[in-house]
Symmetry: C2
Subunit: 135 residues, 2 copies
DNA sequence: CCTTATATTGTAACTGTTACAATTTTATAA
DNA sequence: TTATAAAATTGTAACAGTTACAATATAAGG
């Protein structure tokens, strides 16, 4: 059992079920930004009764609690990652892979938007990755 | 007839059909980042034979030709806008509205990513807008 | 006008997501 | 522990956005 996860749940006031812990553990240390389906397929062998709806439920809960981040891509599906170190993304137009980039500095110029409460900033780059370019 | 659009089509080597022109004109000067459905419903009265598939086709073509930009939101649908002045977006978590922000400066630190060809950079902020905060 | 290419249309299929009621598991307290 | 209530999980069906595709209509070129 993941002690760090149990404390996180205590903080967020949610119960640390085995299913939730499994989703968390899978995302922890995973840099692939998986889809719901990929998470489900990965966990199903270890949790044979797992339902895809449960994965959806957990991801929605984790997102609401800011434990994970939803990544909206131009594919018609969402991807997820742990909300750990702040970083930017580069998405390859050719192969679709999402690369993590070191955090970049963003300077705002928010004239006229000073009543806005900014909770999250996100930088997405798009283009062709090195692998695809070399082909 | 929109002369600017006809020249744009000449540049892109696509034919300036009335349907395409209508989609273009609707997006031009529209700051609401409409969905496919909104575009379709708006144009249908003026083009009674219009099919939603056609709207999809045109938006896909315009996106490929870099005439418009696809905006991927956390809603389960895409939004579109003309690819004119470069700007950032603020999306309100409460009401979902997308606000245009003046362009922000982004400083890259792309150590290890120097084979990458960056075609587009995008800055998305997220939080609560003034209107929703005041309620 | 004729011929060919392109654009548009309607329908059906596909896919990611959500709603919901039933069941199982977990938390709480007697 | 056992009883009770609350919460989590499950399976199914519905839903929504998107895409595939074949048929039709329109446009372009000679
Ligand atoms: Mn990432
Ligand atoms: Mn915009
Ligand atoms: Zn690539
Ligand atoms: Zn708002």
């Amino acid at each position: 059992m993941n002690q760090q996860f149990r404390e996180l749940c205590k903080d967020k006031n949610i119960s640390p079920s085995i299913t939730r812990e499994s989703v968390y553990d899978y995302l922890d240390g995973n840099e692939t930004h998986p889809t719901v389906d990929e998470i489900y397929k990965e966990l199903k062998p270890k949790l044979p009764t797992l339902s895809k709806t449960t994965v959806y439920n957990i991801l929605k809960l984790f997102t609401k609690e800011d434990i994970i981040l939803e990544i909206n891509t131009r594919e018609h599906k969402k991807r997820y990652e742990l909300n750990n170190e702040d970083h930017a993304h580069f998405t390859c137009d050719m192969c679709g892979q999402i690369y993590d980039l070191p955090k970049v500095e963003v300077n705002y110029n928010l004239g006229g938007f000073n009543g806005f409460h900014i909770k999250h900033e996100e930088v997405n780059l798009r283009g062709v990755c090195k692998d695809c370019r070399d082909k």
